[in-house]
Assembly symmetry: C2
Homo-oligomer: 392 residues x 2
């Protein structure tokens, strides 16, 4: 049997995520390669109680077919949080529930991208986005991100000359770099997007994980009609429940509903009801404070150990999120480091797959949300040894 | 702001499912339009207990990120059931968990369909499949289905001359018609597919709902390498948990994993664990016997009432599943009937959207799995009145 696959499959990059999830599961390896929230911070008892309440009060509805748009009380909760936390005039009608924010990447690309459509994104940029977009065969054009912002001149030139259908970015504690845009950069992005009628697709999976708890204003605040945002409870409550969302202007939501229905009919009714019950009967803000505290401690420790043990490596210094990016001196290769690391029972993620237009060979991503303080101490020592070995 | 949507959106038919789900929720309307399993047959207490056990034993894992392929014990359960029930040599490695079988439609199309790729399907055929496929811009070619089989001559000509990348069909109690292929038709389909190297994409959402409980052999049994099957627990356990699966040859599974990961990373970890726990700690076969008994009773009642009250309407006589198709005399129009029905507080689904190549204006679909016996009695009386009104 000769299977004839679609041409779009040739456009997709080789997937790294599988391999890194596989690596993350070997119990002997201390993994800084994945992107898991710390398991001990998942409030299993709280979610268990929320589930029991859902089964008692609304079990039939939570197990039956439901609507494509998502559970209204949950969409109202999310809209309310945008209003109270960020001052955005969000309504439930502009929110749709998705299977994590990864599904937004797929569906937004499906709505906007034809073969050869130009899509802008950050360099380095989230590799899950590169993979999702690639199946729609865009021309991806990147703009370098620094500790403060995308390269604003390049961003402006991209929007004016290449006319991307959207620019995809993570202004809050980016994956993979952990960097955040300054408020000035957000305003400038908004101005340029408004002038050039470019959608700014703002993936905000990490905004609630600012170590200082201070809300950063999204680009959408300054350019509402250009702003498509996505969010997720995967990093803050539970990834296994697969609850993310999109927050977008009416005309986009309308198209979103149709493609989402064709994709898998509707979000998981049980997960939505349990998540909503959990959020409204437990101290979500208190939970977030605890998560932020642990991740900040881990991040500081990892930065310090990098500075102490790997003196010729530079790294970003995140103020939130789950990741940082390290850069080795010119001539080094992160794939060699990756293999040396596996031999030492530690895992890092080579930066290359985050570079949609190539490059990044000297970079690697480190996750600081999964491991304990002790594991970070041991793992960084192993990393230092692997780094020395890989340079022989 | 001028949003530039992808060209593929123009290819999609106007969605009916939303409207019918909306109609289904008006409590005054007796709906035969939807496709909901009977709510009172959902084992809320059993699933609640399964969830409690999951939280107690494996709560952390059920709430954390998991793998793209799906929960291994659940895949093993499904493979085991294929082996014991149908004698198929299925292994967990050939099974992938999806968000209902609707997600299979999207992902299988994504893997195989480029713009203008020929896809074969039944006429009438499942409208959710037409919608899912349409976003990949295929040329859909249809083969008429009768009470016994697709038109085998047309099927053979299609496979030989049009070379579809796959033929999509529902051999067991089809949506919308409720008809099933004879065993001879299944064997012939398999022979033709093997000769012509055509994939037979066999949507088996209803196979477990044969009123007599007798397993019908899938086409895949006779042509393993051509067979891509999908299944679902939505019709038998709970739709809200969104657990379906695909069962396909290795080379297809490999491509499936990559596109599924890009689409939404992985299936819902909590739903998978709870579903597996439910299936292995409750009497699933006993539950199925009960569901089949109720649906058979409803189906017989609906057929009898159609025969008694609507004497110039013909209809299929299903031996399983959830749907039947009614056909009015030439010159009648099911959209007129639809509106007349709404006025009488009853809903049926016009057949037109199930006809990918046009036609079907005199047909409508009736669902017999949602309403109670009493509702069917009252609803069919309303339908008869609406039918008389629509013909004035």
């Amino acid at each position: 049997m000769n299977y004839q696959f679609a041409r779009r499959l040739d456009a997709a990059p080789e997937s790294f995520l599988d391999r890194l999830f596989a690596v993350s599961r070997d119990p002997e390896i201390i993994s800084f390669a994945g992107g898991l929230p710390m398991t001990s911070l998942i409030d299993v008892a709280g979610i268990r109680d929320a589930a029991a309440a859902v089964f008692a009060d609304e079990g039939e509805a939570a197990l039956q077919y439901t609507t494509t748009d998502g559970y209204l009380p949950l969409r109202e909760y999310i809209a309310g949080r945008y209003r109270s936390r960020l001052g955005l005039p969000a309504t439930a009608g502009e929110i749709r529930i998705t299977n994590g924010s990864q599904q937004c990447l797929d569906l937004i690309a499906k709505i906007f991208v034809d073969p050869s459509t130009v899509v802008g994104m950050e360099q380095p940029g989230y590799l899950g986005a590169i993979e999702a977009f690639s199946y729609y065969q865009p021309r991806i054009k990147t703009v370098q991100v620094t500790e403060e912002s995308p390269d604003m001149k390049a961003f402006s030139t991209l929007c004016r000359e290449e006319k991307p259908v959207f620019f995809y970015g993570i202004p809050n504690f980016q994956n993979p770099s952990g960097t955040a845009y300054s408020d000035a950069a957000r305003r400038t992005c908004a101005e340029i997007c408004q002038e050039t009628e470019t959608i700014f697709y703002e993936d905000d999976a990490f905004g609630e994980l600012a170590f200082d708890g201070r809300p950063r204003m999204p680009v959408k605040k300054y350019a509402p009609e250009c702003g498509v945002m996505s969010g997720s409870f995967s990093k803050t409550v539970s990834p296994g429940m697969r609850i993310g969302w999109v927050y977008a202007p009416g005309p986009v939501i309308e198209r979103f509903d149709a493609v989402r229905q064709a994709a898998d009919l509707h979000p998981n009714a049980l997960s939505q009801a349990v998540m909503h019950r959990y959020l409204t009967t437990h101290d979500y803000d208190g939970h977030l404070r605890q998560v932020r505290r642990v991740y900040e401690t881990n991040c500081r420790q990892m930065c310090d150990l990098l500075d102490d043990l790997l003196t010729d490596i530079t790294h970003t210094t995140p103020e939130g999120g789950m990741f940082m990016l390290a850069t080795m001196p010119e001539g080094k290769d992160s794939m060699a480091l990756f293999h040396a690391c596996l031999a030492e029972k530690v895992a890092v993620l080579p930066g290359v797959p985050f570079y949609a237009e190539g490059g990044g060979h000297t970079t690697f991503r480190l996750n600081f949300s999964t491991a304990t303080e002790e594991e970070i101490r041991v793992g960084m020592t192993r990393l230092a040894r692997a780094y020395r070995n890989s340079n022989r």
